[in-house]
């Protein structure tokens, strides 16, 4: 039999000024099951809590109703007090008679009546409360980082430095991501590889990091604390542990004019067996079978094999599938760039000297195809005049994407500066619509491109580029002077828009995390939970979430790492017990519930008899994934699933108590 105690709080005059608290207590005492009902000046004060605890002890209370302030204020206070007296914390219910009564109504009699109603509701609810145990989920204290760009590297290093084992999976032959392709970086113009190379080496050497390059995630299952991962390690056709990175193989390979170098953004060629760039980590070549004569011409060529001292090239090696278990995942798969060839009017792909920002980055770079001397692709001459066009593909709902890519204003200013530094008496023109330079020191950086390095900025878009006698005639506008502008340039650089990594949506579906219509992963909440994905235990970092620059990518990598370390700081992961629960006796396995669950928390469970034969299948809630939202409950026609703390019968009891 329920023994309920009701405690009506005055909150000084906050409640007592508008609500007749004594009357509320008196009416409450008449409700069947209520064994004591008192009012008190400040329930949350120490004396208040002590009197509550005393009453639990003396009256052997099985449930408490506090008619007081909002549960968002003191629910936990009173639950803690109840726990101290050995009561299950979920046997405490709050009737909100301050925020939702005394502060919003004036008529004392009517306010008192409302307070009584709310108290009755909670008494009926608490009568049907059942003990709820918080669920403890075991934690595999190992983390998976997907993507080895700057964001993933930062996340991996911070996590590993926190003492946690990290598995870093990178799709390409080397880690480094886009940043290692860059020359110098805004806003400080420090050399990208000077920052990046030591970090890459650190990853390689870190005792807590296991690195899988040239590898992809094949499958993911499980939930927070308990993910099972299948990694496909594509074969390099090289015995990795024996390879010394000496380079004899790629120097021997005859196929050196056939494949465009991905690392150099198609501006140079690589061999069939290759490392993407000299500082690659790991420094082990990949044999690209699609380009290799050995595979094309039925084993005719094996020059690399012959050249290799340790004989570590093996044409027969196969892809491997590796299984790992982890407790948390950080997705940092970065970005791609839009395809400029959508812009027929800019002649990308037709005019050799119209290049993308990333290609220009490679032209600037000492490790690039021109060894850092800016030479235009058509004739190798050093350009004197370059026109930069911003927002190509970005802010263009017609041909591209409507959003702003955030980094291109800044990298264009950087390009204009570096061009001025490298080529004397050169001139750059920048067509822009708005300049977005909102970071620390960014506006100053852009100004210096104009003031110190002489870049001329024109406010307007370019309509068309024509080729005329070896010059590119750029036809644009300057809306500030209200004029059409034609500039004869030696080269044009397009600040191409940023889009999510190809296939990021596929990975997102595998991970069960949400993504926006472009394919960027969405955070659980942009302000409250900016590093969490929609699925517990999976965190996000870097450009995979949306356009951001290196400083922000690093910050988000560190933030994700700290979330993982925070999660792993406890021995087990505790989930509030207010989650869904299936009545296996009545469930008919229609799985309507599964369809509405946004958290993929519902799976099928086979019920077997003693002999191990499957008797039936029922819905099963994964406590690591369920958030207790209750969407499944209203989807279930057979009333076989319910959310603890908000059970159907409790809500009906509340409604019933209001009967007039």
């Amino acid at each position: 039999m329920a023994r309920i105690g009701v405690f009506v709080c005055w909150c000084g005059s906050n409640i007592a000024g508008t609500v007749d608290v004594a009357k509320v207590a008196e009416e409450a005492s008449k409700i069947p099951g209520v064994v004591c009902a008192v009012d008190y000046k400040y329930m949350c004060s120490d004396p208040g809590q002590n009197s509550l605890r005393k009453m639990i002890r003396e009256q052997k209370l099985t449930g408490l109703v506090l008619a007081a302030c909002s549960p968002h204020m003191h629910e936990n206070t009173f639950r803690r007090a109840a726990v101290k007296e050995g009561l299950n914390p979920y046997f405490v219910e709050i009737a909100n008679i301050r925020e939702q009564v005394s502060w919003v109504h004036e008529d004392k009699e009517r306010a008192t009546q409302k307070a009584i109603d709310l108290t009755k509701m909670m008494v009926e609810k608490v009568k049907k409360d059942r003990p709820i145990e918080d669920v403890k989920v075991p934690l595999t204290k190992r983390a998976l980082v997907i993507g080895g760009g700057i964001a993933g590297i930062q996340a991996a290093l911070d996590t590993a430095n926190g003492g946690v084992q990290v598995i870093l999976v990178e799709k390409e032959p080397s880690i480094g991501g886009r940043m290692i392709q860059l020359d110098e970086t805004f806003p400080t113009l420090d050399c990208s590889s000077c920052i990046m190379t030591p970090k890459m080496v650190e990853v390689r050497q870190h005792p807590n990091i296991k690195l899988y390059t040239y590898s992809e995630i094949e499958d993911i299952s499980g939930y927070i604390g308990n993910f099972k991962i299948k990694i496909k390690k594509k074969t390099r056709s090289v015995l990795e542990k024996d390879c010394t990175g000496c380079g004899e193989c790629w120097n021997a390979c005859p196929m050196h004019k056939n494949v465009k170098s991905e690392f150099n953004a198609d501006m140079s060629e690589r061999t069939a067996i290759y490392v993407p760039f000299p500082q690659a980590v790991p420094l082990i070549p990949v044999l690209d079978r699609s380009a290799c004569l050995h595979y094309k011409k039925g084993g005719k060529c094996q020059k690399c094999f012959d050249a290799c001292g340790p004989k570590c090239i093996d044409f027969g090696l196969r892809d491997e599938i590796i299984e790992e278990e982890v407790g948390a995942i950080i997705a940092a798969t970065g970005y791609d760039l839009m395809d400029n060839s959508l812009y027929g009017e800019y002649g990308y792909g037709k005019y050799k000297d119209v290049v993308s920002g990333l290609q220009f980055e490679r032209l600037l770079s000492a490790s690039g195809p021109t060894e850092g001397v800016i030479r235009r692709p058509s004739d190798g001459k050093t350009p004197q005049t370059i026109v930069f066009i911003q927002c190509v593909g970005s802010r263009d709902p017609e041909k591209g994407v409507p959003y702003c890519s955030k980094v291109c204003c800044m990298y264009t200013a950087k390009h204009a500066k570096l061009f001025a530094h490298k080529v004397r008496d050169s001139q750059s023109y920048v067509f822009y619509i708005d300049i977005r330079a909102t970071g620390k020191g960014y506006e100053e950086f852009v100004r210096s491109a104009m003031e110190q390095d002489g870049a001329v900025y024109l406010r307007g878009r370019v309509s068309r580029i024509y080729e005329d006698n070896g010059k590119l005639i750029v036809k644009g506008a300057d809306t500030l002077s209200g004029t059409q502008v034609e500039i004869a340039a030696d080269m044009v650089v397009l600040a191409t828009g940023v889009i999510p990594k190809k296939d990021s949506d596929r990975l997102a579906r595998m991970l069960g995390i949400s993504y926006d219509k472009y394919g960027f992963f969405t955070e659980s909440h942009p302000k409250l939970r900016p590093t969490e994905s929609s699925t517990a235990g999976i965190f996000l970092a870097g450009m995979a979430q949306g356009p951001r620059d290196i400083p922000e990518s690093v910050v988000s990598g560190s933030a994700a790492a700290s979330k993982v370390l925070g999660l792993f700081s406890k021995s087990e992961y505790e989930v509030e017990g207010t989650i869904a629960n299936v009545n296996e006796a009545t469930c008919v396995a229609c799985f309507y519930c599964q369809r509405v669950c946004a958290y993929h928390a519902i799976t099928g469970k086979e019920i077997k008899d003693r002999n191990g034969n499957i008797v039936k299948v029922v819905a099963n809630v994964n406590p690591g994934l369920c958030t207790g939202c209750g969407a499944c409950v209203s989807a279930c026609f057979s009333k076989s699933i319910d959310v603890k703390g908000f059970m159907d019968d409790q809500i009906y009891a509340e409604i019933k108590s209001l009967g007039v």
Binding site: I433, G460, R461, S463, T479, G482
Partner: protein
């Protein structure tokens, strides 16, 4: 230049233009790509993007009396390349239509306006264009009697100018269309 905004007049003008355009002026974000590619921008008094902004500000007199709207040759370069899919060519049509309805006679581009007028009259009376009649009337009205004179004989010789144009048989149909829509 200075513009004092009269909110009532501004709204009237904007909503009038927008309802004919089936597009919202705020859709244009003033990137200037339309003006950048306009082949006749060099002759215009205001660039196409300025026309759009001035329309949004309610500067009816300025835009309706501009040279720009009459110089536009409807080449659709602007609309084709507009990143926002804004109907730039369309707004030129709309402004011309409003100007004509209001009886505004372009001073600077009187001839273009006149040409359009004569062209339509020509259709109205023949159902088709008689190029000879078109040129003759136009030259008479503009008092450019000797304009293109050196072209005419050769064109006549080559058979390019047919003195007797054709009329369509159901001219009453055309009259009806003009009655209903003019």
């Amino acid at each position: 230049m200075k513009t004092t905004i009269n909110e009532h007049e501004r709204r009237d003008f904007v909503s009038g233009v927008e309802s004919m355009l089936h597009d919202k002026l705020s859709n244009c974000y003033q990137c200037g790509k339309c003006s950048a590619g306009c082949p006749v921008n060099f002759e215009m008094d205001y660039t196409p993007n300025q026309i759009i902004k001035m329309t949004e500000l309610g500067m009816a007199d300025t835009v309706l009396n501009s040279k720009t709207i009459w110089l536009c040759v409807s080449c659709i370069t602007c609309s084709t390349r507009c990143p926002k899919g804004f109907e730039v060519t369309g707004i030129m049509d709309v402004l011309r239509e409003i100007a004509v309805k209001k009886g505004i006679n372009s001073k600077a581009e009187r001839e273009v306006q006149l040409f359009h007028k004569i062209f339509l009259e020509n259709i109205k009376s023949n159902g088709r264009i008689s190029e000879f009649e078109l040129v003759r009337k136009y030259n008479l009205k503009t008092k450019h009697l000797f304009k293109d004179m050196f072209l005419a004989p050769k064109m006549l010789e080559k058979g390019k100018l047919k003195i007797h144009g054709v009329k369509i048989s159901n001219l009453n149909r055309i009259a009806k269309i003009f009655k209903d829509f003019e």
